[in-house]
């Protein structure tokens, strides 16, 4: 059994290690010495990228868009989920069904009309042109997860808060949200990862490189330096670092959120 795991583990790791090592080679060495350690550890591929401004701009733009999307989707979803979980009102189930239908809209299906809409709203080459649609498409899953969590908070708490003179918004803001911190963490991590990895929308919305995100930047870099393998590898490795670092910190929330999302959706 251990043999199987070691083999599978090797298949998973080898492409990544290969990329890291290749980044330390020259493109010439790459074809004569494909998988050995570099004969001479060449750091210039990495340092050139880190020394320039392009990579940092991509990183900053990816971060801004991920944070913007997350704040927006979590805030709006929390409000909606609160209403779904704690209010009985006419039309509630119909509204909820409307949101859950959104789970059946894969992004790729709606991207063309979305692009036309963004163009007519003059949101191309504007980070909001990516943030708003990403938040909109994140709503269904986030609402479903948060609603399930809010429902489990006992009703007595709300009664007590109301008796103490809390309005519904006061209860939401001062009691529910602080209690829901783990759930908010989970949905935030999901939103960050989804936004970070989105490729299609930033590719379409950002016609020039001012706001390009990491995935778009890496693809364009490969196109531009297609002959210089070693540099592309170095770029690739640096672009993977933030996602893998984030994963190692937030693994629990990510896995928890994905399994919750898959089963509750």
């Amino acid at each position: 059994m251990h043999v199987i795991l070691v083999v599978v583990g090797a298949v998973m790791v080898v492409p990544l290690v290969y990329a890291v090592l290749s980044g330390f080679k020259s493109t010439d060495e790459l074809s004569s010495n494909p998988f050995g350690l570099p004969r001479k550890w060449l750091t210039s591929n990495y340092t050139d990228i880190l020394g320039g401004s392009d990579f940092w701009r991509l990183l900053g733009s990816s971060t801004l868009i991920a944070v913007g999307t997350t704040v927006l989707v979590v805030a709006l979803s929390a409000l909606a989920a609160f209403s779904f979980a704690r209010f009985a009102f006419r039309g509630r189930e119909a509204l909820f069904t409307l949101f859950t239908m959104g789970l059946m809209f894969p992004f790729a299906v709606a991207v063309l009309p979305l692009f036309l809409l963004l163009r007519s709203l003059d949101l191309l080459d504007n980070p909001l042109g990516v943030i708003l649609p990403q938040a909109a498409f994140g709503l269904p899953m986030t609402i479903i997860i948060l609603r399930a969590f809010f429902r489990e908070i006992p009703g007595e708490l709300e009664e007590a808060a109301t008796l103490d003179g809390c309005s519904s918004f006061g209860f939401f803001w001062r009691v529910l949200l602080p209690m829901a911190r783990p759930a908010l963490g989970t949905v935030s991590v999901l939103a960050v990862v989804t936004s970070w990895n989105n490729f299609m929308l930033p590719l379409l919305v950002f016609t020039d490189n001012t706001w390009w995100t990491l995935p778009v930047g890496v693809q364009q870099f490969q196109g531009q330096y297609s002959a210089e393998y070693a540099r592309v590898f170095a770029y690739l490795v640096l672009a993977m670092v933030p996602a893998l670092a984030f994963y190692s910190v937030a693994e629990r929330q990510l896995v928890g959120g994905l399994t919750a999302g898959a089963t509750k959706g």
């Binding site: 599978v8 969590f149 693809q219 928890g256 399994t259 089963t263």
Partner: protein
């Protein structure tokens, strides 16, 4: 008719609405309206964004699909269902449908069983299982675009890692063109998809496995069931809800596949790896046949919708409740 029905309903027993004549009732009615407004008020921001950015664009695509339209101004050249009939005569699009089916079948035959095997392995007490779990899942957090660039270089003809590895173990010439070979491009693509996604399905299965009480398999063990019998007759049936959901996600993923293909092959060589989303992208953003591309979007949505509804109706319905309640413990 309607008014008597309403009057009946108002005065009938067990209804919540008191007669409107009563002043107290009017106060209660006002409070109800206020309650409703508060509840809907909390929904409003999300609803506006959702309708504006998800529903309206989709409805517009449905409208634009009936026009020949280059994407500027309003569509005016109405062509009826021509776009749809052309689409189902287009060999590339029919190929897209076949390739989507192929990816689904390959996933069902190889990727998901493999993920299940790994989940069962890692559900046991093994040294280093946390490390393996983390490692197998790690590619899931990488963007498809970055994964695509990585593997376009791993599978680069002659100079890539894959060919060198095959050469080193004496299998020179087994590799070759990979993504550039029309007959092997889908197989290579499927390998990359498995590398990236099996860990996700494995994590779902692990969560499912951990919610199966140990007493059940232990009881089967005492009754003399072999390891295979325990897996086949105890574990697998209890895991069924999770399996069905993972199949569902796998199919939806295959329908909308774009990033990976676009970065690696752009659908080539000669359309042999093209997917519906890539075809839509080509027509909509490269050739400016926006009406035609809208028709592709509509068909994609139709396929998703029909699949989702049918799946819910025939496969998920009986165990959706079970799945959500058993998983809730791990879900948080």
């Amino acid at each position: 008719m309607t008014s008597t029905f309403l009057a009946d309903k108002r005065s009938g027993p067990g209804t919540e609405l008191p007669p409107p004549e009563s002043v107290r009732a009017r106060g209660r009615g006002r409070r109800r309206v206020l309650h409703w407004l508060t509840a809907v008020g909390f929904q409003l921001p999300a609803l506006v964004l959702f309708i504006g950015m998800v529903l309206l664009p989709m409805l517009f695509a449905l409208y634009a699909a009936f026009f020949r339209w280059g994407g500027f101004g309003m569509p005016s050249d109405y062509v009826g269902t021509d776009n749809f009939t052309d689409l189902f005569d287009n060999p590339v699009f029919l190929g897209d449908l076949w390739r989507c089916l192929l990816l689904v079948l390959l996933s069902l035959a190889f990727q998901l069983p493999f993920a299940l095997a790994m989940a069962v392995l890692l559900n046991q007490r093994l040294r280093g299982r946390a490390v393996y779990r983390m490692l197998f899942f790690a590619p899931y957090v990488l963007s498809e675009a970055i994964t695509g660039v990585l593997f376009s270089m791993v599978f680069a003809p002659d100079d890539g890692l894959a060919d060198h590895v095959l050469g080193a173990v004496g299998l020179d010439g087994v590799g070759g063109l990979w993504f550039a070979d029309p007959s092997y491009v889908m197989a290579t693509l499927f390998l990359v998809m498995t590398w990236k996604y099996f860990g996700f399905h494995m994590m779902l299965y692990l969560a499912g496995l951990q919610s199966i009480p140990r007493e059940l398999t232990e009881a089967a063990l005492i009754d003399g069931a072999s390891a295979w019998q325990r897996f086949r007759n105890v574990t697998l049936p209890l895991l069924a809800p999770t399996l069905r959901i993972s199949v569902f996600l796998s199919v939806i993923g295959a329908i909308q596949l774009f990033d990976l293909v676009w970065v690696i092959t752009q659908g080539g060589p000669d359309h042999h790896s093209e997917t519906m989303a890539v075809t839509m992208f080509q027509y909509g953003f490269k050739r400016y046949q926006v009406g035609y591309a809208s028709a592709i979007s509509v068909v994609m949505f139709g396929i998703c919708l029909v699949f989702a509804l049918a799946y819910q109706r025939f496969v998920l319905r009986r165990d959706l409740e079970g799945a959500t309640t058993t998983m809730r413990g791990d879900g948080k």
